[in-house]
Symmetry: C2
Subunit: 718 residues, 2 copies
């Protein structure tokens, strides 16, 4: 059992002026050892006397509002694409910002449109000559004098983002008033020089600050608003901001070729992370990262010279830093912090290579409304219930990959009005500290092999996903006892399947970055995977794995999977109908529900195929034996505890290690087990709000019966 309230530390508290009594209470109850400020709050003057570390948030690119207002030429820029417009007459006028939020963007009239913009006929794919169109700056419109009637046209054009995304979001969503600061572009020499001076000045003005929490390096995730002042387009890993003529010319000089407006707008998809990234886009990311690391290192060095530590806020603003990339450690950050409401978000920060102090800012944020704009720390809200719900997802991920610290953000004066919330955080803080006591730096039990996740992004987008199959699956995986390695198709071509990987997962809709699209036409890739499985490896395909229309197959390794998908292009092929297996290791615990699934999956190589679940619209779960290896196909995946178990069993079966279902394994899939062998104890935790009974398989072949209250975590000696 955890020794409640005997631990202290590893926890950060948001503090503000005039809350001395409450601060003392929470220091006692939660064991906090650091405080931070929040947007719009000020720390108590006597904060250092409390003996706590002080974090201060600093958003470099929008901190000096005056500089931004006086230097509009270095505000951040980007390409937008006008909405497609059809020519109903010979002449066509396109209002560029129609459908966009006019307080977020201003058309860049400073750089010659004829040189920097691109007008395309989307019906033919042709680029119009600049002599074929005119830009009217007053109307903000492009006119094509002689358009092809009934053809569709778009304009890719440059804008300044005149209102910083976070500030705008808070104003629009939370009703914050105030001015509209624009974020400056630190790639521009003038801004870069100014920000260095500004940072030195800021450090001087904040002597109490121990840790500068850089709430941004430069980039905000892509967040484009509509003419209704509502979200229009978002991409948490999108490199759409800070695309300026300055940077494009620099790119051309350094990389030897010029990027076109189309390389950025990509027919309106804006290089969505869901699309298979182009070479141009990957080159751009690398180029941006190279230069961002350079100026970011200047900031961290200045911070260190002032004897402070530098922390990266991961969430909105990690873009450009590429924490999983080859240059991240050059920057010299001391610590990383990420808002964390589930396993994916915990693993996103926990798995970053390198030696960092890492902190998870837990949810709910101490704020009247939550992310869903529902009451939270306000009448009608239930912050404790919210907190429990998130903690159930985060706790199991921490059990697998422990990080140094947790914390909260927001307004402490709101939090203290909810005593049941305060009590629950005390419990979760102790659960967290107990993990540290047991871990002693050694991770909990893991299966003796790695799980590899294959997609077009690979390592660079570890634990980042928007795709729905992948979302639930990665969330599940983040709390299972496996080391996980993300890799891409170039990695396979360069050096084969990563060492230690025993099971590869590929999941997603056809032709997305997650499934991999045209990369599956690379013979070196498909051969390497066939060889890997043939020699005893496992492959798990979910949704439309390896899918791309090529050489007679849709699933390019349908021989490995045993199944392919009928897209109504070969209806004449009579499909082999296989009976469903009465029982199987993978489905033994039942209860699963795959949700929306890929339909019309059929037995393409029926010889070794076993159908575990089928529906009227096709195969839903199947296994295949391929030489010495195994594959599992799941037609869909949603997050649920039963599905987590289905995935766990799928991985063990694909690895040919079914016996591991008798080692640190819980018979009841609503509960999970983590064994910390160095600390000599194992935890059994209930992920649900209801009481649960389970039988735990230890490593020594013995079993233990365990009863758990809702959400409870119990510890036992090994």
């Amino acid at each position: 059992m955890p020794n409640t309230n005997t631990f202290k530390g590893r926890m950060t508290l948001p503090a503000e002026k005039g809350m001395d009594k409450e601060l003392a209470l929470l220091m006692e109850k939660w064991g906090c050892d650091a405080v931070r400020d929040s947007d719009g709050t000020e720390l108590p003057a006597n904060i250092k006397e409390l003996g706590m570390d002080v974090y201060s948030t600093l958003c470099m690119v929008r901190a000096d509002k005056e500089f931004g207002q006086n230097n509009r030429d270095v505000l951040q820029q980007k390409y937008l694409m006008s909405d497609p417009v059809t020519a109903f007459e010979d002449s066509l006028t396109i209002e560029l910002l129609k459908g966009y939020y006019d307080q977020q963007f201003e058309i860049d009239c400073a750089h010659q449109p004829a040189k920097w913009w691109e007008v395309r006929n989307r019906s033919t794919g042709e680029v119009l000559k600049s002599s074929e169109w005119d830009f009217d700056a007053k109307k903000g419109a492009v006119t094509i004098a002689k358009a092809q009637k009934y053809n569709v046209y778009t304009v890719a054009f440059l804008v300044y983002q005149v209102w910083d995304s976070t500030s705008m979001y808070n104003a629009l969503t939370n009703g914050w008033s105030g001015d509209h600061p624009g974020a400056v572009d630190p790639f521009q020499p003038k801004a870069r020089e100014h920000l260095k001076v500004f940072l030195q000045k800021w450090l001087g003005e904040h002597p109490a600050t121990d840790i500068v929490r850089f709430t941004s390096v430069a980039y905000h995730f892509t967040n484009i608003f509509s003419d209704k002042a509502e979200p229009r387009y978002r991409d948490w890993s999108g490199y759409t901001d800070m695309i300026s003529p300055y940077m494009i010319e620099k790119f051309e000089k350094e990389r030897g070729y010029r990027l076109s407006p189309e390389d950025f707008v990509t027919a309106g998809y804006l290089n969505s992370c869901d699309r298979v990234p182009s070479k141009q886009y990957l080159d751009w990311i690398d180029f941006v990262n190279e230069h961002l690391v350079a100026f970011c290192k200047e900031w961290v060095d200045i911070t260190h010279q002032a004897n402070r530590k530098a922390m990266l806020f991961f969430c909105d603003h990690w873009i450009g830093t590429e924490p999983y990339g080859k240059r991240f450690d050059q920057i010299g950050f001391d610590s990383l912090v990420n808002p964390v409401k589930n396993a994916i978000e915990l693993r996103r920060i926990a798995d970053v290579p390198g030696n960092y102090q890492r902190e998870a800012r837990l949810y709910p944020y101490f704020f009247p409304v939550n992310l869903g704009n529902q009451p939270s720390f306000a009448p009608g809200g239930n912050p404790k219930a919210e907190c429990v719900e998130f903690w159930m997802l985060v706790r199991r991920a921490l059990m697998q990959k422990l990080i140094e610290r947790i914390g909260f953000g927001g307004y402490t004066n709101l939090a203290v009005q909810f005593p049941d919330f305060i009590d629950y955080v005390a419990i979760l803080a102790d659960e967290f500290r107990e993990m540290h006591a047991m871990s002693q730096g050694v991770p909990s039990y893991k299966a003796p092999f790695k799980v590899g996740v294959l997609n077009a992004w690979g390592k660079s987008r570890s634990w980042i996903t928007k795709e729905f199959h992948l979302g639930g699956l990665m969330e599940s995986l983040g709390g299972l006892p496996f080391e996980v390695e993300f890799f891409n198709f170039e990695d396979i071509e360069a050096s084969g399947i990563p060492a230690g990987v025993k099971v590869i997962i590929n999941t997603g809709n056809a032709d997305t970055a997650w499934s991999g699209g045209q990369h599956w036409t690379r013979a070196k890739v498909t051969s390497a995977i066939r060889e890997f499985v043939a020699k005893g490896g496992g492959f798990i395909g979910v949704g439309e794995p390896s899918a791309h229309d090529h050489e007679g197959k849709f699933f390019q390794i349908s021989d490995v999977l045993g199944v392919d998908k009928e897209r109504h292009m070969s209806v004449g092929r009579v499909k082999t109908k296989l009976p469903s297996e009465a029982s199987h290791f993978i489905t033994a615990d039942g209860g699963f529900d795959l949700g929306f699934t890929s339909i019309e999956i059929f037995a393409d190589f029926p010889e070794q195929l076993k159908v575990l679940v089928a529906a009227r619209d096709g195969i839903k779960i199947a296994t295949n034996n391929y030489q010495k290896g195994r594959s599992v196909y799941l037609a869909g995946y949603n997050f649920s505890w039963a599905n987590v178990r289905l995935l766990y069993r799928s991985i063990l079966w694909a690895a040919g290690q079914e016996e591991l279902s008798k080692k640190w394994f819980s018979s009841n899939y609503h509960t999970e087990v983590s064994a910390f062998e160095k600390g000599g104890r194992f935890a059994v935790y209930n992920n649900t709000n209801d009481a649960q009974e389970t039988e735990v398989f230890r490593a020594d072949g013995k079993t233990v019966k365990v009863s758990l209250a809702g959400n409870e975590c119990k510890w036992f000696d090994i």
Copy 2:
């Protein structure tokens, strides 16, 4: 009311020896005026005395078994593709016929494999040099000495089809015994000459025959059997048979380029009619048709010279004749016959351009088992119920497009054992003859505009479909009061939207021939359709209409449809959510169920879009206004009476002619109305087995209440 048993004629009966009494009964009860033989039966000797026309079936290509056996070199040939095989070792051996039925095919060893075959690496797409592989005729296997390990290989090779498909089907499905005749290839000069002589001889030996019913010209539909002697691949409009070196060389000489084995096997898809046809395949079809028409005309001429008439059996063997093509009328057939169990099959024959006597051979076939291999004219069977079910689908199509004759096939001695069946056929025969009495050569009421069906095949595959959306939709359309015109993308480029078409339907899965695939990237096509709708036309898209990934859209005319499909490549785009309309003209009669639908359909152009039905996985039914025109989107379509009504209303709404729902229209969608203005009567018919009440809207604004027994058809004066 029909004057039961006062009509005679327009009906063909299968007759056989020794059934004189039964024949007389059916002549009386059904009013037959012609008899035919069936496979394996012989007509009564006194048949001419009964005063009836005699049809005799003749399958030219397999009729002279002896010739086929003695001239194996002119048996029909085709390309097959071996199943893909993975190289697990350096050397790879592929057994060519593995997975195929060895009694159907023999490998063609007569034509040099190195010249005529093709071995492909399907992982890389490369064609192997002939020096890189060897064929062992004894083993029927190709060996690649130095294969790329873990790459997948296929062989495209020539075979002789040594057992005719129909004969084989009857042997395997119906247990018929006997020899295995192969069909000869009349394109080969030796066979062509022989068949002319044979036909002359055959006519001499069949003096009683009035009409030669050519059960084949040359081609059987593609019907490839597996090593389990079960259907493996089928394509009712596939040109896979009679691909011989002789014809390939002739093609090269006449068309100026050589077709490769890959042009025929197309990575294993065998040019499935569901795939967008390639230029090569269309050229091949045209070439085959050109030469087939030439020798087929010889046969018809010989038949005419013998003072007989020539009838084309449509079903299994129309391939090559191209009844909707430009040369069909050159052949000179007098009549067409088709087995007909529904509206599609009726319209397939009824809409063939030209002046032909047309006959529908109704179902069930007088045989112990039916097409589903269930008891029919046998203990446990219910042929009357089967007959009613089919007649409900055929009757409404005949109401729209009347043909000259109906008939049955099979063994009359089986039929007469089911008196309720005999009685029902008497009713349906009278219903059919009543249509003629009322029509007097003038079709029933039609809406004053045409419905156009747009796909990659166009006119040439009118009323031929395998695609599931399209199947049910075409079946529905076949009995609605619209002239229907099929056209393709070339037609639009050449001459715009066909005259008279007011509503275009495009339906099917993405990138199939039915939806149209890459043809939607033709700017002339999309412009023409935009113009057509903008000026007041209607467009109905079903499933994945106009779908092809191109220039930022999936549905290429998403501006016209208002909707597009999210394929998880732009999840970051925030979708506009529209409320569902409380009521709408299209959905006013309710009861519909679209079945499997395309998921994640979203509002791409929400301004004019109205959502009629939405589900958790996206929009299901929507309408859009586009300038002066309208579009309707249906996410799926299955055949049902409620869906027929949904389609009917969709067409009227898309045409902007909602007022036609008050003209010859039935309030109860289980019943339909057809008005024969020349005959001065209108029919109200119940398509269900249950009694129905309905209100009929006449053309003059008056309404009539009608009660109908199950399946009943009532006639009223206009």
